[in-house]
Amino acid sequence: MTRSLSGRALRYSACAIVASSALALSACSSGGGGANAGPKNNQAQAQQSEKKYSTTKVGTAADSNGPATPVPGAKNGGVLQTYEESDIGHYDPGQIYTANAQDIVSLFERGLTGYKMSNDGTKFTVVGDLATDPGTASNGDKTWTFHLKSGLKWQDGTPITATDIKWSFERLFDSGETNGPTYMQQWLSNTTGAGFRKFYPGPYKGKSLPDSVLSAPDNSTIVFNFKTPHADLPYTLAMPGYGAVEKAKDTKAKYDQMPVSDGPYQIKSHSLDKELVLEKNPNWDPKLDPIRHQYLDGYDIHYGHSTQDTTQRLEDQTGANAKAVSLGNPVDPNSADKVLTTPSIAKYTVQGYEPFNGTITYNMTRLKDYQVRKALSIAMPIKQILTAAGGASAGDLAGNYFSPTMAGWKQTDPYGKLKKPNGDPATAKAMLTKLHKTGMKVTLAYENTPAMQNAAAAIQTTLKQAGVNVQLKDIPRSTYFTQIDVVPNQYDMYMADWGADWPNGDTVIPPLFDGRQIATGANNTAHLNDPYVNKQIDKINAMTDVNQSQTAWQNLGEYILEKDLPGIPTYNWTQVQLYGKDVGGVVYNNVLAMLDPTRLFLK
């Protein structure tokens, strides 16, 4: 509603609905922003091809041993002040899904697996976090076994047991747990949508999940039994939404505000929407944690700071501002120009991709004609949409549905959008004239923020030149996604974006384009239902070789874009962040799509 909230608005809303913890295969490490920022947009292709790709691999038991690789030059002590946009609200692991929440809770909540990042931020390894290794699959990837490290303790000193872990998954079925990811619940119950809630009502009424689904045969062993193969379970479990909860201390709603820590820090005090104070967790053992450090004495996380405010603070670099960071706030898009072109400020920036890819999605129930969609796509001014979001600092123009963070990503551009990013209304008009569709009315729904208003107005202006009468429908930010998710709905196009939960196509193509998942509240907002696509999805899902499936997803994505065109890609999100000059160990974590909080120290 207000200006500075809006800078971040798009991301927030998107995150709230979409998952955002993806594994980045490419990474921009710190510095140099000022130098490449300007021409980045024009040379998107060239730049990206120069980027170092790193393989993400599933690690070994040895990788899973602590302590974490030391950060060069790290010092101990001090309390770090961080300034964040708004309180993440939920601290119950089961409610964690947004990027900001994932980032912050990673300081005090751990799961069975996690991503271990190399010090330069270019290599990620899925390792056992609470578990001794990233899991052992059997029975054709249908049964997975994890063992807990020995000596793990909750912040109150009681040992972490397999019972706690089992409880952590059971409680996700409770009707109160509505904000977290639902992969595990669906896989364990072998249902789709919210069907898992009928399968099992949660443990609070005394019933547990049968051992045939999830069992804890002893204090340190946990076994998952699925009906279908799930080769990428280690990735899934690395989502902070699957963090562990101490059974004896689980007080439902109250736990959401005061969770029990198993990480290096614990909550000292929390005042809603204002401040979260973290202190060292004395019962955390660095030798049992391959991912996190405990350099700082604590964190003082201040909520309620707009991107404008944090940008101003961190540009300032004097006094207390030199010792502060914002874990989640990007540079205010309106100041990015100044930040990235002033060398003295640009020095203290880090940049990287986020797993999001924006599209203008067509409602195929209404826009049935491929040729019409093609004409609209050709006219679409994707550069102006990017400019509205903040220009070069907000992202790179996209040629297809995948973000460069995806495994097996290739740049393609079947509609020539990268060559004519301002749209080609003349060609579009010629096409529409041939179809006798000039003057057609098309409704565009957008989220009502200043940036989106700008973008929508730009689309309206450009498409008018193509002979299309665009009707703009602004929807309040808070209900945008619930409104465009309705089937059927009255809109012809919507601005949407999608971020993969992990860097494999199976968190992009099936949710967005599986024709059997057209339903209110589901994510196939284009209502694409192509039998070929549906068949391919099943085929690729059955693959057990992750490398093979990655290529297959990419190819299927290209097929959908070229043959079905359920939406025209706009841009891939990037993020620029500033930090105080006295803060060390600052690395942009592509998985969290924010600063990595677990390795920071004060110089």
Binding site: Q384, A388, A458
Partner: protein, 343 residues
């Protein structure tokens, strides 16, 4: 009379101490000659108030600018909708003008608006047109409401007065700004099919109606008490005794005598309403893109000022001048209409 307040300090420069009355040689002043109507007298008094006249010219200039925005746009050869920056490659990759000072040039006198490079000069004219238009509409609505309710409550008294005043009390207890930001967006979304763009006129209507709903009470109270004091005055008593109808008394006796408070309240209300509308647009609940709006220029300005401070200058300076001019005008109008009023 001896303690008549000194000339308004702001208008002292314009006070014609020791000069002779104006060219017609007619005398006027505290003791009026019968030949001059009160309105004419006030106008004469006003004409001698240089600050007042200057404010009047400025205010008229604003109205003229608002009215003639399309003419200005035609003469100047640009409009506030075209994305000149995008079309003519005048912006960097962040959407800021390449030229210094917000892209001010012989072609774009006030520069370009980030991020698409719309023309600020015409945007400002059209923006003022929107904001002033809404402000004028609100002011007229509020004045009409207040006059009607003030008359009803003040003249009829009794339960009518009681009801009107209690309703006013009730509405005054609503947190105004919160009410606006909570309801304007929601109401704007009503009544139109999701297929059709909500027309700007409807948004503006909703904005006006919601703001009007919680803004009329203060003026109505003032006018009511004016009516109350008038009701007891001799000429009204006399009219009553002579058997004049209520309507006639209101029309012939009371309304003409309420001109002063009405004009003064109206003059002071308008800038308040314009800045309130601008404030709501600033909060994002006012007029939407692509309709140019003064308040939304502040929203943009406050967002981009770190990189492009120039953009902020034009809406800010014009707003300051507008508010000051209107308030000075209001003061001068009151002085002219009611020379005994103190300030």
């Amino acid at each position: 009379m001896i303690n008549k307040p000194p000339a308004d300090p702001n208008s002292d420069t314009g006070t014609s101490v020791g000069t002779m009355p104006d060219e017609e040689g007619e005398a006027q002043g505290p003791v009026a000659r019968e030949s001059l109507s009160p309105g004419k007298l006030a106008w004469r008094r006003f004409r001698r108030d240089r600050t007042g006249m200057l404010s009047l010219y400025i205010v008229l200039a604003f109205f003229l600018a608002a009215l003639l925005a399309p003419v200005v746009s035609m003469l100047y050869g640009k409009n506030p909708y075209t994305q000149y920056g995008v079309n003519e490659n005048l912006l960097n990759s962040f959407g800021y003008p390449l030229k210094p000072n917000g892209g001010i040039s012989g072609q774009f006198w006030f520069g370009l608006e980030p991020p698409y490079g719309k023309d600020v000069f015409t945007e400002l004219f059209y923006g003022m047109r929107t904001s002033i238009g809404i402000g004028v509409a609100l002011t007229i609505l509020i004045i009409i409401t207040s006059v009607v309710l003030g008359l009803l409550a003040g003249y009829l008294g009794g339960w009518v007065d009681y009801v009107v005043m209690r309703v006013a009390d009730l509405l005054m207890a609503f947190p105004q700004q919160l009410f606006f930001i909570a309801f304007i967006p929601v109401l704007s979304a009503l009544f139109f099919s999701p297929r059709v763009q909500t027309p700007t006129w409807f948004r503006v209507t909703i904005l006006i109606v919601v703001m009007w709903f919680l803004s009329w009470m203060a003026v109505a109270r003032i006018l009511r008490s004016a009516v109350l004091s008038m009701r007891e005055r001799e000429f009204v008593e006399a009219a009553k005794l002579s058997g004049a109808s209520t309507w006639r008394i209101i029309r012939k006796e009371i309304l003409p005598n309420m001109t002063t408070p009405i004009v003064v309240q109206g003059t002071l209300l308008l800038p308040t309403m314009v800045s309130a509308e601008a404030g709501l647009s600033f909060l994002g609940v006012g007029v939407q893109q692509p309709t140019p709006d003064w308040g939304r220029m502040f929203q943009t300005g406050a967002a981009v000022y770190q990189s492009d401070i120039t953009y902020m200058v034009f809406p800010t300076v014009t707003m300051i001048v507008f508010v000051i001019a209107f308030n000075l005008l209001g003061d001068s109008v009151r002085d002219a209409l009611d020379p005994k009023s103190a300030r």
